[in-house]
Symmetry: C2
Subunit: 427 residues, 2 copies
């Protein structure tokens, strides 16, 4: 445990105030740091992580031992564990972020106005980003890298069970920052497990510009509720595939199969399949057989069950459930409008796909479905920062304001207006 927590005189307010002041000061230096400097810091931090492999594993072992003693379950311990492969993965992540182009300072839309001034927008860092996450210690490196590259200082608050691991990773980040002449305070890990500190962080409006929670639903809900600072968050992923009557049925079956079975515990997996009544009899038996082979449990509406009799009955609750598991709800609909209405009513505005060969329906689906990602003839599993070419993502936002969908470097920046004149005044 950190000295600061153990010491008798530890004052949480004072400690967090200092963290905030240092972050704000670091953010001013980062805003003006050049691309080469930020990349040098990232690459040096990657080297430091690789060089520290033994130390990281030894430190992580302490967290794991304490976790076992506390009775953490196997899944949690697995997420907490660092091994050579995960350590190499972290270093590669840093190198990859270094290779991304720098969004800061990018000027767009610069154009002359009738008054003679030129008006444009310049992309700039948000300032200070607070990241609150759970057990995976690699988030320490991943999130810090994205913040650094986008010119933001960050305050990181991981799970208490990963504190030693997170501090050891932060030390490597600090080595990278120092090697590049950037302030260590650009990446600060809150050094005490005291839960009160999260509450304080969420109220530091004067120091923190945005909070990004990463973890389970309950964590995100709690932070959103409590935060006085804007939150970029990810809630449910209740994703749909709609198979239109004019779909290429082989394609439709492949997409529906992939969207459900490629991975189960992810937010962009399909949870509900909608099938046009004109093709349901052709599509559902084939799909049911493929799902059965993967042990996917099907829960259908009455019309689906009339076609595939061994489906369970889907209840009203199923339509708004994110299973994150080999379970799928299935509904037969009579037209595109019914499909869109269902998605609007029960979906979570995350990712929805239509499979169709019809130009007009594809266009309507793209326009009318109000989700962060809307697709035609592709698996919902593509809803991802890497697949979208953002390079890396800090998360997928289900908010509408600021950032929607996968959030990469650009989502950690904002745009200010710039005006270039040669003496213009308002008349």
């Amino acid at each position: 445990m950190s000295a600061k927590l153990d010491s008798v005189g530890f004052n949480p307010e004072q400690y967090m105030h200092e963290v905030g002041v240092q972050a704000r000061a670091a953010s001013r230096l980062l805003n003006t740091a050049d691309t080469a400097g930020k990349n040098a810091a990232l690459l040096a931090a990657a080297d430091a992580i690789l060089a520290a492999e033994k130390t990281l594993i030894a430190t992580n072992a302490k967290d794991l031992a304490a976790g076992e003693k506390q009775g953490l379950d196997a899944a949690l311990l697995d997420r907490l564990a660092l091994n050579p492969k995960r350590i190499t993965g972290m270093a590669e992540g840093l190198q990859q972020v270094a290779s991304l182009s720098d969004p800061v300072g990018e000027i767009s839309d610069l154009a002359y106005r009738p008054s003679g001034i030129q008006v444009g927008r310049m992309r700039v860092p948000l300032g200070v980003i607070g990241i609150i996450y759970e057990s995976r210690p690699n988030v320490t490196a991943d999130a810090a890298a994205l913040c650094l590259k986008s010119g933001n200082a960050c305050i990181l608050r991981g799970g208490s069970e990963a504190l030693h691991s997170n501090l050891a990773i932060a030390k490597c980040m600090h080595q990278g920052l120092e090697a590049a002449g950037l302030p260590k305070t650009a990446v600060q890990v809150i050094e005490a497990a005291d839960r009160q500190l999260v509450g304080l962080l969420l109220k530091m409006k004067q120091y923190v510009d945005v909070i990004v929670p990463r973890g389970g639903k309950s964590l995100i809900a709690r932070i959103t509720e409590e935060s006085e600072i804007p939150v970029i968050k990810h809630l449910d992923g209740i994703c749909h595939v709609y198979i239109d009557e004019q779909a290429d049925l082989e394609m439709a079956i492949n997409i529906a199969f992939n969207a459900k079975t490629h991975r189960y515990g992810v937010c962009n997996a399909m949870e509900t399949l909608l099938v046009h009544s004109a093709v349901a009899k052709q599509v559902l038996p084939v799909l049911a057989e493929r799902y059965r082979a993967e042990k996917v449990e099907l829960r259908g509406c009455e019309r689906s069950r009339a076609i595939v009799s061994d489906m369970k009955v889907a209840t009203e609750e199923d339509w708004s459930t994110e299973y994150l598991a080999p379970v799928l709800s299935v509904k037969v609909v009579d037209d595109l409008q019914q499909a869109i209405d269902h998605i609007e009513m029960y979906g979570s505005h995350h990712t929805d796909t239509i499979v169709t060969e019809n130009y007009q329906k594809a266009r309507q689906f793209l326009r009318e479905v109000d989700s962060s990602s809307v697709m035609v003839n592709a698996s919902t599993r593509f809803s991802d920062g890497f697949e979208y070419g953002l390079g890396a993502e800090i998360g997928i936002s289900t908010d509408k304001l600021h950032a929607r969908g996968p959030v990469g470097l650009e989502g950690l920046t904002t745009q200010k207006f710039i005006v270039l004149g040669n003496g213009q005044v308002r008349i």
Copy 2:
């Protein structure tokens, strides 16, 4: 007063719930409304406003009489008043918004990814916008027009003193919507003066996507404090002009004079003048004389007062005061860094200008000053949606997230990802 408020059975929760449900339903229709339909509604509403001139003035007279009786001050009554010129202005505002290009559906950055999918972004409405404003009834037409053109339903809550005027204007908007076959519920004015209704509106997260308050500081502070919905807001405008040692001094004097004296009560007026010590002796006496002729009160630092002896003493508080009046604080600084540090410490991140002929300093100022508008050689008074070419503005945001600076149609929209494939699945 509205029937709903007077009736014994008026249930505020039930009323606001109905308003919310109707707004959400209208927003779905508006999202898919075509540009021609929205423009037709705006033009028909403009015609309805012009045709209703006499009714509007008569209705407004009731609000004015009630206001006088209540003892509203002259400035408030002036803002509340409608006259033929203001009514024509409202109609022209609607016509102007109709002439702006429609941001909804705009697709950008559509590009192929290695997987074969095409990924791009489509601009879409936010959904439902709540506008809370004070006495000017013309905001009813202006704000409704911007929301409508950007495909959003709006819930308008004006000052209780303007309720009859606002309802009469909304009636004209409804005529326009009906003429174009769009739902009247796209523009709803809260029909009761009950203050409790604002509190309810600010908690309707399920129906309202963003709140835009327009009015004085105390209104905005209260709404920001109370709202559970994201707020696009405007706080202080403590704007600076920095005259560099390498400025064209005649230009510098003209800009500093214009930025202060063009209008006093506006957020983009200069409140603090910063002058490089090397040119202060040349610049300040000339400027002081011009300001004196306009009866602008000067409050200077010691070094400024050593040059212009009749300046008052600027206190620490002056540097962070938005005068909105013919008052100006003046400070002599030794270099660009001191100027930037002052702006960072005391400014409100609204609009700041450097006057310089030096390329490197202009570049540094543009990059390092963290304000919503940063200018070189132009008056701060240009910080305005019309001057920036946004066509019209719903306000100037001093927030960093989502919209920063003047907020036009684009600020009332968001972007979703669209993916076009031909059967791609994740491997």
